[in-house]
Every structure is written in structure tokens, then in C-alpha cells.
């Protein structure tokens, strides 16, 4: 972002940003503009997702879902938000008033601040921080602070249960997540989100996920851990409505309640964007190799369509992941607290640790074998490329085909058919 403003100052205004006093002011304006843009993006995405998830859930459950407000009910989230804003902001008498009021802002802050480093496409992100991933991991911890505060400050036993569950769950699952994050970091040799993407490629077998079995396993551990961190089924224990009423937000009403759901739905984008960046090739456009991109960059001219295509590819990957998370929510039951802890500490943490070691050894060996060629994208036709492609066929296409066939069987066996006419 700073480079862009510097460029404008130099080229359009004809000043030197180092010495021009107004430069600081322009930086501030730029920051605020980006801040408003990102916050709005997060809010609108969360709102649209709330509508989309309800429609998907309705289709899964043979219902219709919200279809009244706007075309196909797409404006439902505006009506919902309006209702929540107009509602009385109820604060229980016996609650800790200050903490009760402040808790939703912690949750919102933890969610919005992640957008600072999340990429949206080629060269499209607020900042390109060197410690980007580390920043994401640490800033999302703010969310659990908010949840814990809300559970405590509500002075309700159900809310307390929810808060404690959330704290135990999120803190536990940050450990396997933090471990398997190391696998793509080792493979890319960087914590910068854009650099991690640049170490991958456009074709699926150039994604980190399909490069080694360790990264492949890491993807699923990361996915599970992120589901748990985002309080999504099957890890929605902190808000398990059949057990503890509504969990930590039992006592909340009005827009404060809305903030929790804004953050929860918005977090799906954050989760999916992190996964896409780390394992699924990020914004890399298929059929455009890194060599070509570097050539464009060296010539100082990257075509505009590449910016757009990369943003589209990234968004598409994120939305596919978001959809998978939504499907999981409306299919699976919830696990119990002790099972949740068992899964984390007895399975994910040891396996994650092993994966990090294996990934490091593999990188070391491939560096010994291939030298400098082990870095970045494999050349088409090279041994590395063939290995990646073979692994992609086995680990990517075969499970996908099996899943598709089974889905087809499940649909037809009950006499259903794929029918979108009542959508």
C-alpha cells in the first residue's frame, strides 16, 4: 500500500515522499480508506454468507430458506442486521457491565485485523508483512479473549460454560495448527503470505498440498484445527444449543449479538484464505508459470488481466472451501468435550509434530539431491514435477472421484434427482 501511495506522490504530484510533509497525511488517508474497505468487505461477506449458508442448509434439509427479501432473498442479511440494530441492547443487571459491553469488540477486532495481511490476489493485500503468518496466528487469539470475557461477564452459567469451552478448545487447537503451519513455511522458506504463494504454482500438482504426503496430511490437520478455532461443527461446543442453550452469547441481544455472528461467518473467509494461501496455491493462475510472471515483473509491466484473474482464482478457491465448511456444518453431529480434547492432544499434536520433522527431512534431502532446483516450481518434465503429478493423481483425483461417485449413488438410491427448479 505504501509503495502505491509513494508512486502516486512521485508520479502524479511530483514530490519526494521522503521530504514532502503532506506525505504522512496521504499515508493516513490511504490507511483509513483501506481500513474502511476491508471492514466493509468483511461485514458484507459475513452477511452474504449468512444468507448463503441458510440457503444451502435449507436445500440440504429439503426446505426453501430465506427467499423473500430481494432477489432470491439475497438482501436478507440487511433486514436481519436492521432488526438487530433496532432491538434493545439488553444488559443483564447482574453482569459485569463494562466487560459485557466490550467483549464483542474484542471478537470483531480479532477478526477484522486479520485482513491486514490476507492476500486477495496478485499484489492485492493491505500489507505484505514479512511475518504475515505469524501475525495471523497471533491476532486471531484476540477472538478467544472476547469470547472468554463474554462468558464471564454475562453472569450466566450457560455463558460461563460456553466461554470456558471456547477457551479450552481454541487454545488447544492453536497448537496443532501452529505446528502444521510450519510445513508450508519450511517448503516455502518464508512467513510472508505472498512469498508462500509464489513458491507454489497454478496447476494443482504444484500446490503445496499435493507436493508431499506430509503437506497433504498437514492440510487436513490444519482444516480440522481451523474448524475448531472457528467454533464450527463438529467443534461448535462453545455454542452447542442443545446442551448449553446458546453458549457464550446466551445473554446477548441486538447488535452486540450480531457482532458475534458477523465475526463467526467472516472468520470462514479468514480460515479459507489462510488454507488457500498455505496449501492450495493461493492466487496462482493456472497456465501462467512463475517464470513468466517473473519475466513480466522484470520488464516492469504485469498485465491488468493477471491482477483480475489472480483475484478471481483466489476468491474461487476460498469460496469452494467455505462451501465445504458449510456442508460439514449441516451434515455432522457435534463431538463431546473430552473427545475434542482427545482428538487434539492425542492425535493432532503428535501427528503434526511428526509431519514437521518429516517435512524438514524431505526438504533437506531434496535440496541435497536437486540442489537449487528443489526450490520454487518444478520444471515441466523434471523428476520433481513427475513425482508431484503422480501424487496428485493418487491423493487428489482418486478420493475426489470416489466422493463424487458415492454422492451420486446416495442421491439416486433414494429416488432423488439433482433438481434446482425449486431453488
Amino acid at each position: 500500500m505504501k509503495e502505491l501511495i509513494d508512486k502516486i506522490i512521485v508520479e502524479q504530484l511530483g514530490h519526494d515522499p521522503q521530504t514532502w510533509p503532506m506525505a504522512q497525511g496521504l499515508y493516513l488517508v490511504g490507511m483509513m480508506l483501506v481500513g474502511v474497505l476491508l471492514t466493509t468487505f468483511g461485514a458484507i461477506f459475513a452477511g452474504l454468507l449468512s444468507w448463503w449458508e441458510r440457503r444451502i442448509a435449507a436445500r440440504i434439509q429439503s426446505r426453501i430458506g430465506p427467499n423473500r427479501v430481494g432477489p432470491q432473498g439475497v438482501l436478507q442479511f440487511i433486514a436481519d442486521a436492521l432488526k438487530l440494530i433496532l432491538k434493545e441492547d439488553l444488559i443483564p443487571t447482574d453482569s459485569d457491565h463494562i466487560l459485557f459491553r466490550i467483549a464483542p469488540y474484542f471478537v470483531m477486532t480479532g477478526f477484522i485485523l486479520t485482513f491486514v495481511v490476507l492476500p486477495f490476489g496478485y499484489h492485492l493485500s493491505a500489507t505484505s508483512m514479512n511475518v504475515g503468518l505469524f501475525y495471523v496466528v497471533s491476532i486471531t487469539a484476540l477472538v478467544v479473549v472476547g469470547i472468554l470475557i463474554s462468558g464471564w461477564a454475562s453472569n450466566s452459567k450457560w455463558a460461563l460454560f460456553g466461554g470456558i469451552r471456547a477457551a479450552a478448545q481454541v487454545v488447544s487447537y492453536e497448537i496443532p495448527a501452529g505446528m502444521v503451519i510450519l510445513v508450508p513455511i519450511i517448503m516455502a522458506g518464508s512467513l510472508n503470505m505472498h512469498d508462500i504463494i509464489r513458491a507454489q504454482g497454478g496447476a494443482p500438482w504444484d500446490w503445496f498440498m499435493f507436493q508431499t504426503p506430509w503437506a497433504y496430511a498437514s492440510f487436513f490437520i490444519m482444516f480440522t484445527a481451523l474448524l475448531a478455532e472457528g467454533n464450527r461443527t463438529p467443534f461448535d461446543l462453545p455454542e452447542a444449543e442443545s446442551e448449553i442453550v446458546a453458549g457464550y452469547n446466551t445473554e446477548y441481544s441486538g447488535m452486540r449479538f450480531g457482532y458475534y455472528f458477523l465475526a463467526e461467518w467472516g472468520n470462514l473467509w479468514v480460515m479459507s484464505a489462510v488454507l488457500t494461501t498455505l496449501f492450495l496455491g493461493g492466487w496462482q493462475v493456472p497456465f501462467v508459470s512463475m517464470a513468466k510472471l517473473t519475466a513480466w515483473e522484470a520488464a516492469g509491466h504485469v498485465p491488468l488481466w493477471y491482477y483480475l484473474a489472480s483475484a478471481a482464482v483466489f476468491t474461487l478457491k476460498v469460496l469452494v472451501l467455505v462451501n465445504i465448511i458449510v456442508w460439514i456444518r449441516w451434515t455432522f453431529p457435534r463431538i463431546r468435550v473430552d473427545q475434542m480434547m482427545n482428538l487434539c492432544w492425542k492425535y493432532l499434536v503428535p501427528i503434526g509434530m511428526g509431519l514437521v520433522v518429516l517435512a524438514a527431512v524431505t526438504e533437506l534431502l531434496s535440496y541435497q539431491l536437486f540442489g537449487e532446483a528443489a526450490k520454487g516450481q518444478a520444471k515441466v518434465g523434471s523428476i520433481r514435477d513427475t513425482l508431484h503429478f503422480a501424487f496428485f493423481l493418487v491423493a487428489g483425483l482418486v478420493p475426489f472421484a470416489a466422493f463424487a461417485l458415492k454422492t451420486r449413488r446416495n442421491i439416486y438410491i433414494v429416488g432423488d434427482r439433482v433438481d434446482l427448479s425449486n431453488w
Binding site: 434439509q61 446442551e243 463431538i335 468435550v337 473427545q339
Partner: protein, 388 residues
């Protein structure tokens, strides 16, 4: 705080780390207006004490105030999810008092309507159990099928929930002419739905893990606490009143009695009488009910649907009669005493849910709060049947 102390004083127990939690009467998953006083240490319960009586409507007392046929609509309200059984049990008891013989066509209509109602009731039970475990989708699936049953029963007797279909001496209406093909079509459809149900939820890994080996009721304990119906059979005994003491048209049908066999599988920790057995026995009972309805439609006899000699004013001789039927929630017994008048001297109903409530306190020791919800759902209690 004040409320905590009040509750603690009331139950005479205070302990350092114990949290007393009132689960209900307005809780999403207590299956009606029931309260559970949960004594919890963190997530683990020391015990959960059920408090019943929030939905007591003195239905048995009403039975002494209204006439014999006039009480029939009230029996619907004893168990609104399986009203046919409450109808049938009462009708059987009064018929015994009167010494009436019910014509075979009426008996077949009773069996068909009851078995359809059993499926409907089990669907609610299974669906809400899945929902209590956290899977929301199976519940609308179950409701969708129940809706079809409601349509069928509506075509049969005009009502969808409180049927008032069984009358003293027979049933209220004959079967409509075009009802049989409708019913057969739905039964064929439902066979596939049951397969889908198994794939969707019954053998979902998380679901089985949650329920296997949970809240095990050994057979001896089940008998000691007087459990009935699917809850008893899940503990591993093949006892069903439809076979043990056949009534109505049931001797004509060939069906199996599903009972607990640790369906969850020993490698997952499944034990005979655990929550999963109680769940799966109900799924299997749905299959058996489908087969019973099919057989009843095949053998459907001609004739009257009402006994010819039912007096307009029902005044049984002084005496007493008892009827036992296998309802959706287990054995339902009616005990009717007549003093020779137009109104019963005493009507008493014995229902399965009330008996199931008694065992919860004993079973809940050491369970987690999430398991209590599963336990309540697996016992398939329904509030109006507990309190009547």
C-alpha cells in the same frame, strides 16, 4: 446467587466446587417442560435430578368427570406424538368392561393406524436425538417423513395429531377407498428413506462415538426400574406385548422383535443397553412396523368397522378392567373401574416415559452435561406422557 442458595438449601446439599444448574423447564433439549437439577463439577455431573409435574393436567381425574366415550379425545393429549396408542389402550379397557368383541376389520384398522403412528413417533424420537447430538439435518428429514404419515392418517381419520380415531367397539371411520395404494406407495418410499437414514446419521462415526457405551442400562437394572418398550428391549430382552400378550390383530402378523445387541460394535466400546442400542432399536422397529402395515394391507378383511351392539349410552356393569398395549414409548396400561354409572369411577394410565424418568438420576452419575442430553433423548421421554 440468591437463587443458588435457595436451590441448595432446598436439596440440602452444599459442596465446595459443585455447581447447581437448573436445566429446564425452558431448555432447548429437555423434550418438553421438564426440569433437571444438575449437580455439576465443571462439565462432569455428580447427578441430575429430574423434576416432573410441570405439565400435569389431571387427565386421569377428567376421566372420572366425563362419560366413557367422552374421555377418548382426552386420551389423545396423554401422548400427542403417539395418540393412537392412548386411544387404543383406553378403548380396549372399556371394551373389556363391556364384554364387546371388536370386528376384525376394525382391529386391522387399529393395527395399521397404530403402526403408522409408531413410525411417526419414533421418527420424532430419532430426529430429535440426532439434533441433541448436534446434527441438525436429520431432524427435518424425519419431520418430512412424519409429515407424510400425518397426511396418511389425516386421510384415514381427519386429524393429524390428536386423532380420536379408535372408538369403544371399533374405529371412527372406515378406510377410504383409495387409501391403500397411497399407503403402499409411501411404505415403498420409506424403505429407501430408512436406508438413507442409516447412511446419514445412524452409522456416522461421530454419532456412534458419542453414543457407544454411554449410559449403559444392564438388563437387571432396566427390570428393577420398570423400564418398558424400546428402552427395555435395548437392554437385551425380547419382550414385546404384541408377541408376549397378543391383542387385536397382532397374532395375524409375522414380525421380529428388535432388541439390544451392542449395535455400535464392540471395537467402538458398544455395550448392550447403551444409548446407541436404544437409538438403533427404534430404527429397526420402524422397519418392523413397515412390514406389519404391509401385511395388514395384504390381509385386510371385509366387514364392519364398528361392533354392531355398542350401546348409545355406555354404562358398563360395576367392575374393573385393565388393558396393556405396546405403545411407541413402551407398555401403556389402562386401569378402568366402573361403578355401574355413565362415568368411570377411576381411570388410571401407566405410561412409559414416567418410568423412564426414574432411571435418569441413577444413570447420570459421572456423565457429562452433553451426555445428559443424549440420555434424555435416548430414553425418548415426552413431557405430557410423564405428567398426564
Amino acid at each position: 446467587m440468591a437463587l443458588d442458595q435457595l436451590v441448595m438449601t432446598k436439596f440440602g446439599e452444599t459442596a465446595g466446587e459443585e455447581m447447581i444448574l437448573n436445566m429446564g423447564p425452558q431448555h432447548p433439549s429437555t423434550h418438553g417442560v421438564i426440569n433437571f437439577v444438575v449437580h455439576a463439577d465443571g462439565e462432569v455431573m455428580k447427578k441430575a435430578v429430574p423434576q416432573v409435574g410441570y405439565l400435569h393436567r389431571a387427565i386421569e381425574k377428567i376421566g372420572e368427570i366425563v362419560t366413557y366415550p367422552g374421555f377418548m379425545p382426552y386420551t389423545d393429549r396423554i401422548d400427542y406424538l403417539a395418540a393412537m396408542f392412548a386411544n387404543e389402550g383406553y378403548a380396549l379397557a372399556v371394551e373389556k368392561l363391556l364384554g364387546l368383541t371388536v370386528p376384525p376389520r376394525a382391529q386391522y384398522l387399529r393395527a395399521i393406524s397404530c403402526e403408522l403412528n409408531r413410525i411417526a413417533s419414533h421418527l420424532i424420537s430419532l430426529g430429535s436425538m440426532a439434533m441433541d447430538i448436534g446434527a441438525v439435518t436429520p431432524f427435518p428429514y424425519a419431520l418430512r417423513e412424519r409429515e407424510s404419515i400425518n397426511d396418511l392418517l389425516e386421510a384415514l381419520c381427519g386429524a393429524r395429531l390428536t386423532y380420536n380415531f379408535h372408538r369403544i367397539g371399533g374405529v371412527g371411520f372406515d378406510m377410504p377407498d383409495d387409501w391403500t395404494p397411497l399407503c403402499r406407495k409411501w411404505l415403498d418410499h420409506f424403505d429407501r428413506i430408512l436406508d438413507e437414514w442409516d447412511r446419514l446419521i445412524s452409522f456416522n462415526e461421530i454419532f456412534v462415538e458419542r453414543l457407544a457405551g454411554l449410559a449403559v442400562i444392564p438388563l437387571e437394572m432396566a427390570i428393577n426400574y420398570g423400564l418398558v418398550g424400546p428402552n427395555l428391549r435395548a437392554s437385551g430382552i425380547e419382550f414385546d406385548l404384541r408377541k408376549a400378550h397378543p391383542y387385536g390383530a397382532y397374532p395375524d402378523f409375522d414380525f421380529k422383535i428388535p432388541f439390544g445387541k451392542a449395535y455400535a460394535g464392540a471395537y467402538r466400546g458398544g455395550v448392550v443397553g447403551d444409548c446407541f442400542d436404544r437409538f438403533y432399536v427404534r430404527v429397526l422397529e420402524c422397519r418392523e412396523s413397515v412390514s406389519i402395515v404391509r401385511q395388514a394391507l395384504d390381509k385386510f378383511p371385509p366387514g364392519e368397522f364398528m361392533a354392531p351392539k355398542v350401546p348409545r349410552k355406555i354404562k358398563p356393569e360395576a367392575g374393573e378392567a385393565q388393558s396393556r398395549i405396546e405403545a411407541a414409548r413402551g407398555e401403556m396400561a389402562y386401569y378402568v373401574v366402573s361403578d355401574g354409572g355413565e362415568r368411570a369411577y377411576r381411570v388410571r394410565a401407566r405410561t412409559g416415559s414416567f418410568l423412564a424418568m426414574g432411571i435418569i438420576e441413577e444413570l447420570s452419575k459421572g456423565l457429562m452435561i452433553a451426555d445428559l442430553v443424549a440420555l434424555i433423548a435416548s430414553l425418548d421421554v415426552v413431557a405430557p406422557e410423564i405428567d398426564r
